[in-house]
Subunit: 286 residues, 6 copies
């Protein structure tokens, strides 16, 4: 993955710390330090793997002498039951790191799997699935990485890399006598010239107005696929069209059929089911 080793370890260390791995009273009471084991990560259900590097880092951070061997890679599809990686070395260390490693891997694979379902649902259309900034606090880089592994694209990483003018901004500006076109002009003059200007709209009329005012991206918020199609027909030549709000696995194909370029879905990261993954041990006795 793209993260530097140090960036990855920041996530790992925080999680290990809140699990008090330095004072694991079960393992330290029971497991002789030099007992060796090989443990296997085995999904218990189908899905798309994500987070193997993170799981590896959790084990290695507890004990640099553990050996993590990947049998599959991030992005690989699993059925359940196959070994995706093994960890060998001090059994005490593996036991201590287990929960932290699984917490990352299960969440990230859950995100990738959910994303994959949406991506499959719009297969054959020209729409791309993207995430949002509705990530779990503190995990944005990992949440967005898992979306990309599931075949999605990333929307803004944060408030810096894109102007997104929402209804609240527009209402406030209107009250100050600033029109949409003036707002866009103002943003274009003040924000870095390297980012685009996106405008959120809730009707076809507003979509046309935003496009006419020069928006680079028009976000159709909570509109019906029919209305989306109308908007797309009229503005897609001039700007990127994004659909957002109220999109589920049931209706995403309809949304995609409307011709929008981008479909952004908060649930990819805010409402995730962890993939069920277990760690099976085989211990070597003298």
């Amino acid at each position: 993955m793209l993260l530097t080793p140090r960036e990855l370890n920041v996530f790992i260390d925080r999680a290990l710390e809140e699990d008090s791995v330095g004072a694991d009273v079960t393992t330290s009471s029971l497991i002789p330090p030099h007992l060796e084991s090989t443990a296997s990560l085995v999904p218990q259900e189908p899905g798309v793997l994500a987070g193997l590097d993170v799981a590896e880092a959790a084990f290695i951070r507890v004990n640099p002498n553990l050996v993590f061997t990947k049998k599959l890679l991030d992005g690989d599809r699993v059925e359940g039951g196959e070994v995706v990686a093994t960890i060998s070395g001090s059994m005490a260390s593996i036991l201590t790191a287990e929960r932290t490693a699984l917490n990352f891997l299960q969440r990230m694979s859950g995100i990738a799997t959910l994303t994959d379902r949406y991506v499959q649902a719009v297969d054959g259309t020209t729409s791309s699935i993207t995430d949002t900034r509705k990530t779990v606090p503190g995990l944005r880089l990992l949440d967005k990485y898992a979306v990309s592994i599931g075949g999605g694209r990333n929307h803004r990483m944060n408030l810096t890399d894109g102007v997104l003018i929402k209804d609240n901004h527009l209402a406030a500006l209107a009250g100050e006598g600033v029109s949409l076109a003036q707002a866009i002009k103002r943003a274009r003059a003040r924000a870095p010239h390297t980012v685009k200007i996106e405008v959120e709209v809730e009707s076809v009329e507003a979509a046309l107005a935003a496009a006419a005012a020069g928006a680079d991206i028009v976000m159709l918020d909570n509109m019906s696929p029919a209305n989306m199609r109308t908007a797309v027909d009229q503005i897609a030549a001039d700007c990127i069209v994004e659909a957002s709000g109220g999109i589920t696995l049931d209706n995403v194909a309809d949304v995609a059929e409307s011709g929008v370029d981008i479909i952004s879905i908060g649930a990819l990261t805010h409402s995730v089911e962890a993939m069920d993954i277990s760690l099976d041990y085989e211990t070597k006795h003298a």
Copy 2:
């Protein structure tokens, strides 16, 4: 809540940082610094609120001059549509903090709501619902707080405050010629005397053996309610009985009817649906 202001701010600062609130190019381009607004937090669906102090801290941390006024409290049940809190002050600051505040509040209220459903489902029984260590990495204290707000109890916070002997430990110890009773004795001699010793079992026989060997808590893992009842009948006088594994809203009442003391559920924190909550602005123009 119990967290110190500084502990809370560690969570907030991390989330604000990954959203680059210091370089919000939309707000800084468009919203005059002195434009004032009052915004209302309004759930869009029923559930149990949790995280209002955290949301407040997110706004205050962006701008200490914002005024956050709670209309409801953590633990209050909402129907959707009511104002749970208002935030007044610089509109630019409210807009910048909005996503971070909502990300916390929506997840925590989602956890409390899910926990509440389980708690309601076992109402009238003697079972308590608890969480597990399957929390989102970096958010354990907040995840567990939200469970408690939803009416659940907290299981171990981390690896230090309780001995939990799992099948892997026992298999490894057996290979070393250490019996269950010896393992419990060893743990009792080495772990702090202030924590209890829990043993995970997968059969009635193993449950009886664990109780006979002196376990303080016996965890019945993935057992049928019928078997749980058999185990409870024979060991509940001697130890705490906990059920875990494969428990859903559909079967939790059956599990509780078996008479177990504790039902621990990983999904309370690893598979959460965020509560839908919106922030509505009312802006004051000169």
Copy 3:
């Protein structure tokens, strides 16, 4: 400024720490803790002020009871000799914080002043002055804030908020058989749709090719004003044109006359002369 109080304090605390303000052996040996003073910040040369909030934070962070009173604001032009702010309270605390506060204020005012000179030099043209990522390590947000106070615009804050394809990228891609148009298409498909794609070129031909291939921004690197004009004439209707490389106060007006939209200048932040500012004390004796 836009930074949250905590973000600002991170800069301040780091600087106070490296100055060991908790063990100021001069002040603690000599100055009675309750001796009061009012000190005045006085520039010794003309320029544009920037960093007053940062200087204030340095004093307040050493002693929250100090009172910092601004007489002028960031962005104000000074001649030298005027009082821009006063600090009142414990003289020991003011003395301890002085160097840290001045180090920030002098650098930031130096940046604003230099930026202002460039902005003045292109006054009357359609070109905007921007910074680059050539900031002093660890101070990027403050460096870029100072540029904005001096009348400049900000280029990319970091590697996330804009695609910038340089000669090295293109050479590498060419070696892989990937054309410029393919590279742009690839970036457009993979990078967030909210950021623009900028291509660096060193000749008029390359500029035309980049524009034809769909670049949102074409950066003319180290080209003569004449060649810039030629490029602008042909591509300005289709994309933003940016000039960069080898631009000084001597030639920036010529560059601007070429019609480029953006002139980016690394020296604004990598080669700064601190503004000379002194702190004059008036002490109150019993």
Copy 4:
């Protein structure tokens, strides 16, 4: 250099973080992860190198598998055009780290080069060039290291390692009825006995008084070379004499001719021109 690996990495990590190297949208969109390259650091102008270890650490911190090979060392004089170091390995990693590495190396080499000019200007005299505490906030250790590489000496690292009594201290103490001699005595009794006591003066008379009162070091602030010589003649046998204030490359030789021991110059670190250094890539295609 003297810094521990961890101390060095604190500087690097902070800089990498503010450049968001974990989300480099250009490189991740365009450069295949396994494309290999060798890049060469090449100064574009003459000067003295400083910061090669820091640049190396920036690359290694992004990707520990990169290989950094020094051709020259810190302190070496360059003409411009020579290869000072090469970096080999993943081209994507080199591109991501490039700006951070250069930002350190260019600033530090700029400081060393400027220091070297001052040191050359006083060659043949008995004066040493030193820095001050007017360093860029957050970079003091690196700034001062670069000065030492340029042939300068380091003045106080921070407020702990030396007593420096300035005019403001003396004025305040005078108001309390404390004479200079009493102040020095007080400092000698209270500050650690391992540090010297320096007194800043603005006239020959004050210099004589400070020496007579027992100052270990007398700092002649903004005095003419003639007056400095007068002071030196009378006090140099008893204390170290330091010149400071208003010293430039034009007058530093005159100052040195006055016989002062130390010439301290804030501009060495507060007003630095970055050395122009480029990174040239040679990419290996299959």
Copy 5:
């Protein structure tokens, strides 16, 4: 030891930082960087070693190329005069790290030695010696590790892993009309079911009441050995009995003879004599 490498380095880095090892003016002025030495850690008095891994980490953190060779292990008894470990490599690095390494090793060995004296004093009884939470702020994990090396057991690591109801809690609850039995019931219902409930008492009557009310552990605070024996006789079958308060090497055997299970002693960590350990150098000259 159980700490992860990162946890250990947090302690080390903090100590190295407060010693400013990056600016060791003695070593950097005098010792050529490439001078090699082998230094030996030699206790100057008898005791029990603890902290060798910590000392090693201090040296390695300053210079990863140093080689630390243990001749003895944590828990080994020394007479004084024997070499317990050697450090080989850059003499400058060894000198810079020396004080930090010794500060850890001397304190930890002091704790282990003191603990060992108490453990020896109760040898042949059924009492275990434990520490308390009266550790030096910031060093709890290391302090408690040293106790365990000295043969002691660890009491609560922190406020999470055990309920301890003290006289102040009971007095406050009594004022609210809450009896001891009610308090225990309340704690049992609200605290995690994995931790035990301990009640502090100051009389035999209170001890009986606490046991009758269901306390898992009864702490006899500042009671005479005779009264302890009376309490033990009546409650030891039902709960763990702990003695605390006013216990010294002089009376600990008497306390143990009373039959208590646990004797907790704050002095093990709050009033420690550092073991005298020196570092002897042997330097290799060309």
Copy 6:
């Protein structure tokens, strides 16, 4: 005290964190959040108070609404039994913070008390008592502050503020053919001119040699008072004389009688007995 609020809070936060104050299962289970109490800090033995600001900060950091009222100040002598400060407000918060506050206050008062004993023992002589760098890792600033409150002076804070040439340095340099005089000259040329050069010696002859070679301070290590007097007689006019090594309350007066200027004692901070201080609660019930 001199520390900034933030520096103080770094110490406090670290200690609160290791005590898991955010999850105090006793207090949260038992004490109603709004129960109010006033608690009094009462020493149980005579000594010198130090650390009241630190204790206050511990309470305030847990709950900013607590009110801490000092009845006595740092440096005040107590007999035992008097109230030195009260804390009023939420009883739950006071209970949670108690141990952390006491751990700081008891250690710091222990240091001040021990220092005071040494200072009293040399009363009437010209010797000053100083600490060393043998402080508890992570607490140096607080340890040294407590020494100063006890009437001692501070030796070097860290490796930066003073050159201290020990026998190991000299042996190594001798092997390189560098004499003591050359070593001192080298240090004087390379270390900051603001720090003094101290040389450790173990005989009268070496003391004379060090003074002759120009040492600013000569440290007599483990010498008899008679030899110290001989050395003092011959070198005290030229340099500061410091005694160190093997100095106890029994022999410190003899050492002082020898006429040395400084007596440095590691035990002041490495072998401290905590002062016994209790916290007595008075709770307000409705």
